[in-house]
């Protein structure tokens, strides 16, 4: 949000046709297109998606980098021949991205700068620049194609230097003095007079083996088999060099662009294929439930990371596990989690609602808060600083009872619950709790409740409530909601 209210950050082609533009205020955009569909700007989400796509691009080359906000850089040096040349690779990439529903613009050139420039400012969606014609290809493009983020473009434009061609071969000192070294650096980078490297998105694996499948794999067993066939050569490679790895990952490339990576870590350096197959195999097996091959996997890559020369080393003096690094509780959770699945272990967290049965929630341990709940404090807070006490557990469902009580808001003097009559000797209340009215139709809003803490002749203590108020002619009914110990 900047002054003038919300602004448009990105548009699709249909919006462009109605005149909606980037940087317009939302109000203006709505005036142009009253039925405009707006999503909140989510740069983190965009970046996450770009990152995902970037991982997918590793299929073309391991050297891939995100170029925010909307680009991906792929170093295809030495990789394009695998696809049958630069043009084939670009076409393949373009076709696959189109299949995902993405409008891509692709530039191929000998420098990052030139490729960026033609992809963003070229005339065609796919532009391939011959190495010898880099300067010529750049000449006609505007200065902004140089990736200069200062106001240099505007200032250059004002003196009539409007395209890159106007800068090529011109005296450099006056330009640098006026528009910054950055301009010259970017120009040189685009032309290849100065080096520029990309920092790859994922740490490059030290070793990797892969297999591609013209006929996509669908069955888990096939993948398991593939894992074994990849692990053997990888282990052999490591063993030959005398290296072991601490981290391994199996990347599964689905036809529709989804990439799934299964990573394992080991405490010690590993070079045995059996270990790799077993650890990753477990992960594969664990996938069973949410295994979704879609239309199948077309490429599977096994990577080894953090490799070092293997030297034999004593790990520790005794066999005592976990010396204080992890609490026993966490270890218990880990053990149960591995066995039962983490989603199947729940714990209660407080939820700020006046309605008793809504004031706690059961959530998975994986969503557990770092600091444990101070339950007495929460209960205190819930009852405005006078913790009167509520049953620790409520009945699964309030159970109807019949009660005799003074109108309008007296405590019952006796009541029948599960066919047993109870005579009340002590009562406290009512605690009046009005319904949560929001988000539901008036007829779905239940009446107000009056809760009483009750003790009967036999010393049993109950938590009961009356649903509905006499003064609002709501035909009150009584319910048992919980028992005190």
């Amino acid at each position: 949000m900047v002054s003038g209210g919300a602004r448009i950050m990105a548009v699709n082609s249909i919006a462009v046709r109605t005149g909606v533009m980037v940087d317009q205020t939302l109000a203006d955009a709505r005036a142009l297109c009253p039925l405009l569909k707006v999503e909140d700007y989510d740069p983190a989400g965009d970046l996450a998606d770009l990152d995902k796509l970037c991982h997918w691009c590793i299929r073309y080359s391991p050297r891939v980098a995100v170029s925010p906000p909307d680009g991906i850089l792929i170093d295809i040096t030495g990789a394009s021949h695998l696809m049958g040349g630069e043009d084939k690779l670009a076409d393949d990439l373009f076709r696959r991205l189109s299949d995902f529903g993405l409008q891509a613009r692709i530039g191929v050139a000998k420098t990052i700068g030139a490729a960026w420039a033609v992809s963003h400012f070229g005339n065609a969606p796919v532009t391939i620049v011959d190495d010898k014609e880099t300067a010529a290809a750049l000449a006609g493009l505007p200065i902004s194609a140089l990736r200069v983020w200062s106001d240099a473009n505007d200032r250059l434009e004002q003196v009539g230097l409007k395209n890159i061609g106007a800068l090529i071969g011109k005296p450099r000192a006056p330009l640098a003095a006026r528009y910054g070294e950055d301009l010259i650096r970017r120009l040189d980078q685009a032309l290849g007079h100065r080096d520029e490297s990309l920092s790859a998105i994922a740490p490059l694996p030290d070793y990797r083996t892969s297999s591609a499948f013209p006929e996509p794999l669908l069955l888990l067993a096939q993948i398991q088999g593939c894992l074994e066939s990849l692990a053997g050569p990888l282990a052999k490679l490591l063993a030959e060099k005398g290296y072991g790895g601490r981290r391994f990952s199996l990347s599964l490339y689905r036809i529709d662009g989804d990439v799934k990576s299964l990573s394992i870590r080991t405490g010690s350096l590993v070079q045995q294929s059996s270990v790799i197959v077993r650890l990753i195999g477990e992960k594969l097996a664990a996938m069973k439930e949410d295994y979704d091959p879609g239309c199948g996997f077309e490429l599977i890559v096994l990577n080894a990371y953090e490799t070092k020369i293997v030297t034999a080393r004593q790990q520790q003096l005794d066999q005592r596990p976990g010396t204080g690094e992890q609490s026993a509780f966490d270890m218990l959770i880990d053990r149960y989690g591995n066995r039962l699945g983490f989603d199947n272990i729940g714990h209660f967290v407080p939820y700020q609602s006046h309605i008793p049965e809504r004031s706690e929630r059961l959530i998975s341990v994986t969503d557990m808060a770092p600091t444990p709940t101070d339950w007495p404090d929460f209960a205190n807070h819930r009852q405005h600083g006078h913790y009167a006490g509520r049953p620790i557990a409520l009945l699964p469902r309030p159970e109807p009872i019949t009660a005799l009580a003074e109108v309008p808001d007296g405590a019952p003097v006796r009541f029948d619950w599960r066919r047993v009559r109870h005579r009340v000797i002590k009562a406290e209340g009512p605690e009046r709790i009005a319904p949560e009215w929001w988000g539901r139709l008036p007829r779905h809003v239940e009446p107000t409740r009056d809760y009483f803490r009750i003790e009967d002749l036999d010393g049993y203590r109950f938590w009961i409530f009356r649903l509905g108020l006499y003064e609002r002619q709501e035909k009150p009914l009584w319910y048992m909601h919980g028992l005190f110990p």
Partner: protein, 1071 residues
């Protein structure tokens, strides 16, 4: 207690009442609370808002209507969290409470109040305190209680509530123990936050807004139940069974608090009566003195009688000091050369004219002094004075100096939730998405909130059965009209004899050194407190500046009263609608009316100003008047009585006074009732309450023998006035400024344009249009130049010519600040001979120099825009920030190689700048171009395609299909024209008006709203001299401007087009 247990149930008064003036806490209006208390049979009503008495006047008025006593108070919330309701027993105690709140307010930023317990030591008169304990009373609380009871024995109580928290019994027993231990009696309250339990959802939403939460995650911030409403005394008695004395005490306390706001008998400050015995004598002396000055040739007998009549009435009402105050303020303004003029009903007074408060000669319009001051309507007169907008602050500071901040204060304006803000706040709290919020607030845009029916919701793409949506809409309706915060009134001053803060609490405003009182205009009116409106008006600034320029360059001096009157040449100009920049009659609607109404006298102008306004347009008065004026319709009157009323406006009611008089003469209203009708008219738009007047009005007219359709028509016209009707006197004051500005434009167009530009932003037209207009009238306009320009625009004498040229000033250059310009001017002396000279002598930043270069301000050095830019850019680091000299790249270079190296930079050949680009750059930096009009660059092209220039439209055949093209100056969609859009296009020859019907607009939405350069094909309509093109096809030509003839640079890409479009004026949208 003797009478416990036999108490009648009616003996209960709810004392802890929070209204919606405890912002974002209370969920009911003070009026609702008071009325409900009366209905429930409470012995009295009370209001005690959080550190504020902002809502008490409304409660006071409502209590009078409901016939119930009001206990005025405030709930004091101290910095340490301690809360106590404070109820003053008498006037003195109220004064001290008000001072206490002032102390707290002034300690805190706007909207907050920082009270400390120690402040209570200042209180000495009769206050009653009811301490409000927290849900779980702490030791700290009982400590404070004890201290309070020690400081205010027999006046301190402990508030007890039964809010159904589950432990009410125990809680009450604990409090009873505490009460017994400290010997502080218990008082029953319900800590009321709303008048009925039905307001709980709204109260929940207010809590969410206060905490910036949504209702879904507000959790325990919300109250658990809906019990904090006003309850019947019987119910309270049941709840507090066993504590009956706590109940009866409420009535005792209410009985003790006999303070009423009526007691704030307003004491007007003593004005020094100068050489006279009394203020009245002084006023008379000054009036006759002024009369002599106003009428040097002798006072007309009729006027003498009027003045005597007015003075007698003023004496009877003892308003003389008030007149002296205003007269003194005006005298001060004059003494320091600030132009001012009274507006509104004060212009009805000959005394005001003689005192110099107003400028409309009373011999030229009919005065209705009773509209201003009347013995029957016992309410204070309201003198509104306009001052120059740039110098009003000086007047305000004078008032503060003269009366002291402790005696003078600005009134508040209660900012209320309007439809859009209510939608936004409720929507956010209900967790609506940004998208949905946008849709909803778009649907309520610019108009009052309508009840959406299911179909309308579906049309907006919303689901009418969605509970969240329907709840949101319901809550929005409830929230609308709720006070949101207090803000300072634009200029309503209250002045008192004693300390102001003992009448009304004073609070800090957002502006530094500004304070305002907690009550607004209506509150002050209701209590009969006088106020003076010190308003600001841009045109006065312009006129004063024009007078100054004329005196300096042409040697004659004028003021508002001495500008030659009734000059036919001025009216000729007005009849031509040649009124760009003229006050009030410069809008499109006014301009299209001028050639038809053809004003020839001052009174014609008065009518013009009053006629072309939304009120009369909605009341359908314009066309009947026009027809009668043109002699196309007979002027007749339904009765002789009405002839007197409507004679001068040809039988059509145009002014508020006439509406009132019709009510009196034809419908049998008393003058007092007619005034109520006027007030109802003024607030009709807001409240929609005019209904019962309608029946009385129409029945009254029928019984006086008028026809039903005529009666209904009259009432419709009165309704049409609503917010927009002018009183005649006000129209006259404005018309005078219209005349004076027209006169300036007619005889000193150079000075007028210069003054207008120096007073920007104001008025209807952009600097570009003003400059164009001046040049069209033969004026010379010179560009901004580092060697000739000042900060302001100035006039330069021209040799062999009686007129001056207008030199544009640095203030027109985008991004150049006043201190930069002053630095440049201080160093200029005989001028700069080079860019380096400017750089080293003036010491301004390279960024600023770059802006000047972009504005092409180096021409006197022989450098055009591009050369100058290149040179300036070479001076500094790319950041444009001025480094120390040695760090400058060129200078550093020169240090190494000798100073001559500065000149020896490698040559760089820059492409020459085409004219089109110059024009675009001019617009980008100056918002106007003296070189060419952008459209002229395309003229050949347009002519080839049979486009007609704006100036040539008049020679075309009406009814013909024509094509025009121009920059969009304004798009308007007046509320009075049912969706029709009026657009004004400008080309190099002039201005063309385009009418776009809603259907055509919907089909061309994007083009109409987004185009900066628009082409329109449509039917030409010429009515007398008013020309319109009724649009059929519309095309956005903005991108054409990027490539006009000589701009076909192959390097121009899409960025260029976007830039050109961005630089051109966007056109003002519907206001």
């Amino acid at each position: 207690m003797v009478y416990a247990r036999t108490v009648p149930v009616t003996a209960y008064v709810e004392l802890a009442v929070t209204s919606n003036f405890s912002f974002l806490r209370g969920a009911s209006h003070p009026e609702e609370l008071v009325r409900t208390a009366a209905l429930l049979g409470h012995g009295a009503a009370a209001i005690a808002d959080r550190n504020s008495v902002a809502g008490v006047v409304r409660a006071h008025v409502a209590a009078k209507q409901a016939g119930i006593k009001l206990v005025v108070g405030a709930r004091l919330v101290f910095a340490d969290g301690f809360e106590a309701v404070c109820l003053p027993e008498n006037r003195a105690a109220y004064g001290q409470l008000s001072q206490l709140l002032t102390t707290g307010n002034l300690r805190a930023p706007k909207g907050a109040c920082d009270l400390r317990l120690a402040d209570l030591r200042e209180l000495s008169a009769g206050h009653i305190f009811i301490a409000m304990p927290p849900p779980d009373p702490t030791a700290e609380f009982s400590g404070t209680m004890e201290w309070l009871a020690g400081a205010f024995p027999a006046r301190t109580y402990l508030g007890a509530t039964r809010l159904y928290r589950g432990n009410d019994e125990t809680h009450l027993e604990n409090l009873a123990d505490l009460s017994a231990r400290l010997d502080i009696p218990l008082v029953a309250t319900n800590d009321v936050h709303y008048h009925t339990p039905g307001r709980r959802p709204l109260q929940d939403i207010l809590t969410c807004v206060r905490h910036h939460r949504t209702i879904f995650n507000a959790g325990f911030l919300l109250h658990a139940n809906a019990e904090r409403h006003l309850k019947e005394p019987g119910e309270m008695a049941r709840l507090f069974r066993g504590h009956d004395d706590a109940l009866t005490r409420t009535a005792d306390i209410a009985a003790r608090c006999h303070f009423s706001l009526d007691e704030l008998a307003y004491e007007y400050p003593d004005e020094p009566s100068g050489q006279s015995a009394t203020p009245q004598r002084e006023l008379e002396r000054l009036t006759w003195l002024g009369a002599k000055r106003r009428f040097p040739g002798g006072l007309p007998e009729k006027l003498k009688r009027t003045i005597k009549h007015e003075l007698a009435l003023i004496e009877e009402m003892t308003y003389a000091p008030y007149f002296l105050t205003v007269s003194d303020i005006v005298r001060y303004a004059r003494s320091v050369g600030i132009l001012c003029q009274g507006r509104g009903s004060a212009a009805n007074s000959a005394v005001c004219y003689c005192l110099g408060i107003t400028s409309v000669d009373p011999t030229r319009i009919d005065l209705l002094f009773e509209r201003f001051v009347s013995a029957e309507r016992d309410e204070p007169p309201d003198i509104d004075v306009d001052f120059e907008h740039e110098r009003r602050e000086e007047v305000i500071q004078y008032i503060y100096r003269k009366y002291g901040r402790h005696r003078a204060g600005l009134a508040a304006t209660v900012i209320t939730y309007r439809s859009r803000s209510a939608v936004r706040e409720v929507g956010k709290a209900m967790g609506l998405s940004l998208d949905l919020l946008g849709t909803l607030s778009g649907a309520v845009r610019g108009r009052s909130f309508r009840e959406f029916n299911a179909d309308q919701l579906r049309e907006l793409g919303l689901d009418p059965t969605d509970p969240t949506l329907t709840q949101t809409l319901k809550l929005v309706r409830q929230l609308m009209g709720f006070p949101r915060h207090l803000s300072q009134h634009v200029g309503g001053f209250v002045i008192t004899r004693g300390p102001l803060d003992s009448v009304i609490p004073i609070a800090n405003a957002a502006m530094p050194d500004r304070t305002f009182i907690e009550w607004d205009k209506n509150d002050l009116d209701a209590l009969g407190i006088l106020k003076i409106d010190v308003l600001s008006l841009g045109m006065l600034t312009c006129i004063r500046k024009a007078f100054g320029l004329i005196e300096r360059h042409y040697g004659t001096s004028y003021d508002l009263a001495t500008v030659p009157r009734e000059d036919a040449r001025v009216y000729d100009m007005i009849c031509r609608a040649d009124t760009v920049g003229v006050f009030q009659i410069e809008s499109r609607a006014q301009m299209s009316m001028l050639p038809r109404l053809r004003p020839r006298t001052f009174y014609d102008l008065v009518i013009e100003v009053a006629l072309v306004r939304p009120g009369p347009i909605q009341g359908d008065m314009v066309h009947p008047y026009l027809k009668r004026r043109q002699g196309l319709e007979k002027v007749d009157f339904p009765s002789e009585a009405l002839r007197d009323v409507l004679g001068k406006t040809l039988g059509i009611p145009l002014f508020q006074e006439q509406a009132m008089k019709i009510a009196i003469v034809a419908a049998g209203f008393s003058p007092g009732e007619a005034d109520q009708l006027r007030r109802a008219m003024a607030t009709f738009k807001r409240t929609g309450q005019i209904g019962d007047f309608r029946e009385r009005f129409i029945n009254g007219m029928l019984s006086n023998g008028y026809a039903l359709d005529f009666a209904e028509k009259c009432f419709r016209q009165i309704e049409g006035f609503s917010d927009y009707g002018f009183p005649e006197s006000h129209a006259a004051s404005f018309a005078l400024l219209s005349y004076v500005s027209s006169w300036l434009k007619c005889f000193h167009p150079d000075a007028f344009a210069c003054a207008l530009l120096n007073s920007q932003p104001m008025g209807f037209y952009s600097a570009s249009s003003i400059v164009r207009d001046l040049r069209d009238h033969g004026g010379i306009v010179l560009p901004v130049d580092i060697n000739f320009s000042q900060w302001d625009h100035i006039l330069e004498a021209r040799k062999n010519s009686g007129t001056c040229a207008l030199r544009l000033g640095f203030r027109q250059v985008k991004g150049v600040r006043k201190d930069d310009a002053s630095a440049l001017l201080d160093a200029r002396a005989d001028g700069f001979d080079s860019i380096r000279d400017l750089y080293f002598r003036a010491g301004i930043s390279t960024r600023c120099m770059e802006r000047l270069a972009r504005a092409d301000a180096f021409c006197s050095l022989g450098l055009d825009r591009r050369d100058a830019l290149w040179a300036v850019q070479g001076l500094g680091a790319p950041t444009g920030i001025r480094d120390s000299l040695e760090d400058l790249p060129l200078y550093a270079n020169a240090m190494a190689h000798g100073i001559e190296d500065l000149q020896r930079e490698e040559e760089m050949s820059l492409p020459a700048m085409p004219l089109g680009e110059h024009v675009i750059e001019d617009y980008a930096t100056l918002k106007l171009s003296l070189k060419a009009h952008p459209v002229s660059l395309l003229r050949n092209h347009l002519t080839a395609r049979n486009f007609v220039a704006a100036a040539d439209l008049a020679c075309q055949t009406p009814g013909k299909l024509v094509s025009i093209a121009g920059l969009v100056l304004v798009r308007q969609r007046p509320g009075t024209a049912s969706g029709v859009i009026f657009a004004t296009l400008e080309d190099e020859t002039g201005i063309a008006n385009v009418i776009i019907w809603p259907k055509v607009f919907e089909a061309n939405r994007k083009t109409v709203l987004a185009a900066r350069f628009l082409s329109v094909k449509g039917i030409l309509q010429i009515e007398q001299t008013v020309i319109h093109v009724i649009a059929r096809d519309l095309t956005d030509l903005s991108d054409q401007l990027a490539h006009p003839g000589d701009l076909s640079d192959p390097g121009v890409g899409r960025t260029e087009t976007a830039r050109v479009a961005a630089v051109l004026p966007k056109g003002r949208n519907f206001q």
